[in-house]
């Protein structure tokens, strides 16, 4: 009905399909209007009260340097938590990824089950896992490590099984036909192909975890978050500014290190 027809010089008739853009735009406008209503969004409040945003920001500057000595311990706790959680999580992710990969496990049911398991694990918000862990293991770094561990398993596991499923299994078959055992064929045919990506995924998730670990203290799971929530509660924004400065410097440093390492891997 909306098709436009063009007659070319050769006499051939070409049909241009109608663009979907008007429909999509209409849908988006309706959805945005509904969402604006539900969230009670108001541009006037934003304009009138927007300067309030900078009140806390201005309080943070300049950061209180005297607070620095109290930051090191929780900062190292945060780094240790995210390192330990990422390392152990990445290790456990390997067997789970292999079990979830269709081309390694012959049974569709087993692979499907592990895929579903990884999805569910990935869906659970890390902050909720951390809170539950504090109930079970008590307040402290152990709970935070567990939360990071669970997230890393699901994240690295998912990306790794996708990587394994995209593999060229020809090499594996060729090695098997040469008389290598399945394990040997895996060692020489599959591992070299997935190792670089696996390591780089792990490093990437470590970077992200570091950032996340800084929040976990808010629910009592150890690290920088504890002093962050404490200082926010006391409205001592100069100290908050110092914590954030240290966090930004650390995260940039580790990100830079890990990016260099990842470039070497590829």
């Amino acid at each position: 009905m909306f098709n436009r027809k063009f007659q070319l010089a050769s006499g051939k008739v070409v049909v241009a399909r109608p663009s979907k853009i008007p429909l999509i735009s209409l849908l988006m406008i309706v959805l945005i209007a509904i969402a604006l209503q539900v969230t009670k969004f108001s541009f006037t409040t934003l304009l009138l009260n927007g300067h309030q945003f900078f009140v806390i920001l201005r309080g943070m500057l300049p950061p209180n340097l005297k607070f620095l000595p109290r930051i090191w311990q929780p900062l190292f706790d945060t780094i240790k938590m995210s390192f330990l959680g990422s390392l152990l999580g990445a290790l456990l992710a390997v067997p789970l990824a292999l079990l979830a990969a269709n081309n390694i496990v012959r049974s569709k049911w087993i692979a499907g089950f592990f895929k579903f398991f990884l999805s569910i694990l990935r869906t659970l918000p890390t902050i909720v896992v951390a809170l539950i862990a504090t109930f079970i293991f008590g307040l402290g770094t152990m709970a935070g490590t567990i939360a990071i561990f669970m997230f890393t398993v699901s994240y690295v596991g998912k990306l790794t099984y996708e990587q394994i499923e995209a593999l060229d299994m020809g090499t594996f078959e060729a090695l098997e036909s040469l008389g290598l055992t399945r394990l040997q064929a895996f060692r020489y045919g599959v591992m070299p192909q997935i190792l670089p990506t696996y390591l780089s995924t792990t490093l990437f998730s470590f970077e992200g975890n570091l950032r996340y670990a800084a929040i976990l203290g808010y629910v009592g799971a150890g690290g920088l978050g504890i002093i962050l929530s404490e200082q926010l509660g006391w409205r001592d924004y100069a100290n908050v500014g110092m914590i954030l400065t240290v966090l930004i410097v650390t995260v940039s440093l580790i990100e830079w290190l890990s990016q260099t390492a990842r470039r070497k891997l590829q």
Binding site: L31, I32, I34, A35, L36, V38, T39, K40, F41, S42, T45, L46, N49, G50, Q52, F53, I56, L57, F76, D77, I79, K80, M81, F83, L84, L87, S119, I120, T123, L124, P125, I127, V128, L131, I132, F135, I136, F137, G138, G140, T141, M142, T145, R211, A214, I215, Y218, V219, G222, G225, L228, S229, L232, V240, L244, L247, I248, V251, S252, E255
Partner: protein, 269 residues
């Protein structure tokens, strides 16, 4: 023949030393990290709580789950979707200028280095802190959540947008120059069509993530399903926790499936 194969095999560069070094470094840092964690097997209380949690999650509070008023799981999830949706849209719009200012092929070196630094700062400040700042602006509620999500989305979205901008095919623009297109035409028919599919795909991906992260907003009273969930947990009402979690997990799984389908379609045409 065999000798030839043998020679090829030994010619393979040995990475043993590299790997040994890597393993040594990892083990050293691992040992260092262990010092921070006090390993504690859950005591009797912990085990009892764990059992309660599992029992609660497996027998969710059905009244709360199938409740369609503004306190029910459905409305809370709907509100969370709205927060994540608006936050993603605004974040994506804000990311476009940031992305162009971060692209080495568009702006000069000092500008993109400065913008990149700014984005790292925006990305690293925890969402909680923004949440508190915006609660001052908008008062507690979903409005503050939208503002927070808009700001936290910028970090990742603009970083991914930059890669797309850097991958632009400049030959097309040259060709359009050659046939005499104006700047506006070049943007409309040369640049936008190249960007829009990947930009949309990135935005949809971020929506997925925002939906997951929306729980955090509840900690500072910025709306969504996070606050009721955390209240219920702190009050040990595990049946309610169960019904909220089931709703949240189901929602995120459904959205993930839809968004994967949409993104595959967008990128592959």
């Amino acid at each position: 023949m065999d000798n030839l194969l043998e020679a090829k095999l030994t010619a393979q560069p040995s990475k043993k030393r590299q790997y040994l070094l890597l393993v040594a470094v990892i083990l050293a840092v691992f040992a260092w990290s262990l010092t921070a964690i006090k390993f504690r097997a859950p005591d009797d209380g912990g085990a009892k709580i764990a059992a309660n949690i599992i029992r609660g999650i497996l027998s969710p509070d059905l009244n709360l789950l199938w409740n369609f008023t503004s306190q029910g799981v459905f409305y809370l999830l709907f509100e969370t979707i709205c927060i994540a949706f608006l936050g993603t849209i605004f974040g994506a719009i804000l990311s476009i200028p940031f992305a162009f200012l971060m692209a080495p092929s568009v702006v000069s070196r000092p500008v993109y280095i400065l913008t990149r630094f700014l984005v790292v700062v925006i990305r690293t400040v925890p969402a909680l802190v923004y949440g508190l700042m915006f609660v001052r602006v908008a008062g507690p509620g979903p409005f503050a959540g939208v503002l927070t999500m808009s700001l936290t989305s910028i970090g990742m979205v603009s970083k991914l947008y930059v890669d797309v901008i850097e991958d632009l095919d400049r030959g097309i623009l040259e060709a359009m120059d050659a046939i005499g297109c104006t700047t506006w035409e070049k943007i409309r028919f040369g640049i936008v069509p190249q960007l829009i599919a990947n930009f949309s795909s990135i935005t949809i991906y971020r929506f997925d993530m925002n939906l997951r992260d929306a729980t955090i907003l509840g900690l500072v009273g910025a709306g969504g399903i996070g606050a009721p969930l955390i209240f219920a947990m702190n009050a040990y009402r595990w049946h309610q926790v169960g019904s909220i979690l089931i709703g949240l997990v189901a929602l995120i799984l459904i959205v993930e499936i839809i968004s994967n389908k949409l993104r595959a379609k967008l990128v592959n045409g």
